[in-house]
C-alpha cells in the first residue's frame, strides 16, 4: 500500500535561514503521525509545505506515490489534504451549519441556499463524528474552543479529506476539552483518514499517535513507531533529554 503522504529528506530555506532540513516521515491511511517540537522547531514550516502554503526546496514530497509540489492551499485541498488551523477555523458570528458549508453551500434548483438540507446534513455529519450539538442554528461563537475545533474537523472529514492536518488543535484548550478534541482525532483516524497532528504536548500525542516525529531546530531529532518508544522517553526527548537532566542537577545543586 502506498502512503498517503511521504516526505524524504525534505528541506526549506528562507533566504539564508534554514527552516527545515532533511526531514523524512510518512502518513498512512488510518494512522496518526504526530509532529512534536518546541517553538521554532520547524513544525509550522513542515505543515505549511504539506498544506501547500509554502514549497519545499530540497528532498522529495509524494502524495499517494506521486511526486508533487503544491502551488496553493487550494491545490492541496483538491488532493484531499485539508488543514485545520488553530486560530482560523471558523467564523464566530455565523451559525454552525452555515460555517460547516461555507464555501461549498448546498443550493436548490433555483440557486437559493438549501438551508433545510444544510442543517440536516450538518447535524448528521456531526453526529456521525460523535459530536452531539443541540442546535446547528446557534452561532459558532457560542461553542467552546474544543467544539469549534470539532466542527472544523467534521467539516474537513465531510468534504472528503483523505489527509487531515491539525495545527496545535489542543494548544489553547483545558484538559477536558483537549480530551474531547483528541477523541475526534481518533474518530477521523478510525474512519480511514491519515492524520497529521502537530503539538508540543507529548501527553496529547502519545494516546492517539502511531508515529512520532520529533523536530528540533529544523532537523529531525528522531522518528519513532509507537512500539519503539514509551511516553516517558518521548517526554524526555521532547524536553531536550540530556539538557533537562543537566538542568535538574543544577537546580538540585541550588537547593542543597
Amino acid at each position: 500500500m502506498t502512503s498517503l503522504i511521504e516526505t524524504e529528506n525534505i528541506g526549506k530555506t528562507y533566504g539564508s535561514v534554514i527552516a527545515l532540513s532533511e526531514v523524512s516521515t510518512v502518513v498512512n491511511a488510518g494512522e496518526v503521525t504526530c509532529v512534536l517540537g518546541d517553538n521554532g522547531a520547524g513544525k509550522s514550516t513542515l505543515i505549511k509545505i504539506l498544506a501547500g502554503v509554502h514549497q519545499h526546496d530540497q528532498g522529495s514530497f509524494r502524495v499517494e506515490g506521486e511526486e508533487i509540489k503544491f502551488s496553493s492551499p487550494r491545490e492541496a485541498l483538491d488532493h484531499g489534504i485539508a488543514t485545520v488551523y488553530q486560530d482560523l477555523a471558523v467564523v464566530p458570528l455565523m451559525s454552525v451549519w452555515r460555517n460547516f458549508f461555507l464555501g461549498s453551500e448546498p443550493t436548490t434548483r433555483f440557486g437559493f441556499l438549501d438551508s433545510k438540507k444544510g442543517k440536516a446534513v450538518t447535524k448528521k455529519a456531526l453526529s456521525d463524528m460523535g459530536i452531539d450539538l443541540r442546535d446547528v442554528e446557534q452561532p459558532v461563537g457560542t461553542l467552546s474552543g474544543g467544539e469549534r475545533q470539532c466542527v472544523a474537523i467534521a467539516r474537513a472529514v465531510h468534504f472528503g479529506a483523505k489527509v487531515l492536518i491539525l495545527d496545535e488543535p489542543t494548544a489553547a484548550l483545558g484538559v477536558k476539552q483537549a480530551g474531547v478534541v483528541l477523541k475526534y482525532v481518533a474518530q477521523a483516524r478510525d474512519r480511514g483518514l491519515g492524520v497529521v497532528l502537530i503539538t508540543h504536548n507529548p501527553h496529547h500525542a502519545y494516546p492517539v499517535g502511531n508515529r512520532f516525529l520529533l523536530l528540533k531546530r529544523g532537523r529531525a531529532l528522531g522518528s519513532y513507531e509507537k512500539s519503539e518508544i514509551d511516553i516517558n522517553e518521548l517526554t524526555r526527548q521532547m524536553a531536550g533529554g540530556a539538557e533537562l537532566e543537566a538542568l535538574e542537577h543544577e537546580l538540585r545543586g541550588v537547593e542543597a
Binding site: 492551499p73 487550494r74 485541498l77 488543514t83 488551523y85 482560523l88 477555523a89 471558523v90 467564523v91 464566530p92 458570528l93 455565523m94 451559525s95 452555515r98 458549508f101 461555507l102 464555501g103 461549498s104 453551500e105 443550493t107 440557486g111 437559493f112 441556499l113 438551508s115 433545510k116 442543517k119 440536516a120 447535524k123 443541540r134 442546535d135 446547528v136 442554528e137 446557534q138 452561532p139 461563537g141 457560542t142 467539516r155
Partner: protein
C-alpha cells in the same frame, strides 16, 4: 439566522419549544422595529398630519431615498467595509446624467446608462483599492469622497459656469425615464412617489441575497472572519469588490431618482449623507465590525429617520432638534442592539 417557517427535520429533545419571544430577540432588526414603533406612536399622538395618508406619503418618500442607500451600505458593512463616498456618489451620478443630457444632448436613457457605468467603475475602484492596499476602507473611501466632491464642483463649474445643472426637462427621453424613476401613483386619492416601490424592491432583493444565497453567506463570512473564509475557498476579494459596486449602484439609483424628479442638481449635494446611511444601518442592527446585521433592519432604520424628520416638521418644532434626536437614537440603538445580541447568544446556549 434564516427566516424559515418549517421546523427542523429531527428536533432535538433537549431543545424546548422555542419561545416566540426568544425567536424574536435573535433577529438583528428587532431593536429597530421597536424604535420605529415608538417613533410612529409618538408622532401619531403629538401631531395630526403624521398619521394621515398624505403625511405617510411624505415620510415614506423621505425614508425611501435614504433607505435604498442604507440597505446597500448595510450589506457592505456586514461584509466588513465602509463607504464614505456613498453620499457624494448620489450627486456625482446625477451630475453625470444631467451634464450628458443637457450639455451633450444625449438621450436621457443613454445618459443614465453612462452614469451607471461610471458609478460601477468608481465602486470597483474603491473595492480594488481597499483590497489591493489592505488599508482600512474608511481611509480609502474618505479619499474617494473628497476626490468626488472636488470633481463634482470643479467639473460642473467648468462646464456650466455655475454649481448647478438644470434643464433636464427639455432632454429627449425625460418623460419615459421619469416614469420609471420619479413618477407617482395614487392610493386613496394621495400621490405616492415611485421611489417607495424602489426602496421596498431593493430591500427585498438585498435581504433575499443575504439570507438565501451562497453570496449572502459569503458576505457574512468575509465580514466576520476574512482569513477563515479565504481558507475554505470563499473568493474574498471578488465578493468585497462586488459589495462596493452594489453601494455605487444604489447611489446611481438614488441619483437618477433625484435628477429625474427635480430636473436639476446642485454640485454640492449629498455631502454628509454617508453618515446618515451608516447610522441607519447601525440602528438597523449592523455591527461596525462586520459580520452581523440585516437589510430589513437598515430599511427600518431609514424609516425611523424619515418619520422623525417629517414628524418634527409636523409638530412645528425647529428642525435643529432633529440632530439631537439622531444622536440619542443612535446611542440608544447601539446600546439596545448590544444588549439584545448578548441576550440572543445566551438564549442559544
Amino acid at each position: 439566522m434564516t427566516v424559515t417557517a418549517t421546523a427542523p427535520p429531527a428536533a432535538d429533545e433537549r431543545l424546548g419549544k422555542p419561545r416566540a419571544m426568544d425567536q424574536l430577540i435573535k433577529r438583528p432588526e428587532i431593536g429597530a422595529m421597536l424604535g420605529a414603533l415608538l417613533v410612529f406612536l409618538f408622532f401619531s399622538v403629538v401631531t395630526e398630519q403624521f398619521l394621515s395618508v398624505g403625511g405617510a406619503a411624505t415620510w415614506l418618500d423621505d425614508a425611501s431615498m435614504l433607505g435604498i442607500m442604507a440597505v446597500a451600505v448595510a450589506m457592505l458593512m456586514i461584509g466588513g467595509e465602509f463607504d464614505l463616498s456613498a453620499g457624494v456618489m448620489t450627486a456625482s451620478t446625477a451630475l453625470v446624467t444631467a451634464l450628458l443630457a443637457t450639455q451633450l444632448g444625449l438621450n436621457v436613457w443613454l445618459a443614465l446608462l453612462v452614469s451607471l457605468a461610471f458609478a460601477l467603475g468608481v465602486g470597483a475602484l474603491n473595492g480594488w483599492l481597499v483590497m489591493r492596499t489592505g488599508l482600512p476602507s474608511f481611509i480609502v473611501t474618505l479619499g474617494s469622497f473628497l476626490a468626488l466632491q472636488g470633481l463634482n464642483l470643479g467639473v460642473t463649474r467648468l462646464v456650466t459656469g455655475s454649481v448647478q445643472v438644470s434643464g433636464m426637462r427639455e432632454a429627449a427621453g425625460y418623460e419615459s425615464a421619469g416614469f420609471l424613476f420619479a413618477s407617482t401613483f395614487q392610493i386613496g386619492g394621495t400621490s405616492f412617489y415611485v421611489s417607495i416601490i424602489w426602496w421596498v424592491l431593493f430591500t427585498v432583493v438585498a435581504s433575499t441575497v443575504l439570507m438565501r444565497t451562497r453570496f449572502g453567506n459569503w458576505i457574512f463570512a468575509i465580514g466576520g472572519a476574512a482569513q477563515s473564509s479565504r481558507a475554505v475557498g470563499v473568493p474574498v476579494v471578488r465578493s468585497k469588490i462586488l459589495l462596493f459596486m452594489t453601494t455605487a449602484f444604489a447611489a446611481w439609483l438614488v441619483g437618477s431618482i433625484n435628477i429625474l424628479r427635480y430636473a436639476s442638481v446642485q454640485a454640492n449635494q449629498g455631502i454628509g449623507l454617508e453618515f446618515q446611511y451608516i447610522i441607519a444601518a447601525v440602528i438597523g442592527g449592523c455591527l461596525l465590525t462586520g459580520g452581523f446585521g440585516s437589510a430589513v433592519g437598515a430599511a427600518i432604520g431609514a424609516l425611523i429617520f424619515g418619520m422623525a424628520r417629517q414628524g418634527i416638521v409636523y409638530a412645528g418644532w425647529n428642525s435643529d432638534w432633529f440632530q439631537l434626536f439622531l444622536g440619542v437614537m443612535l446611542l440608544a440603538a447601539v446600546l439596545v442592539n448590544n444588549m439584545l445580541r448578548r441576550r440572543a447568544e445566551r438564549v442559544r446556549r
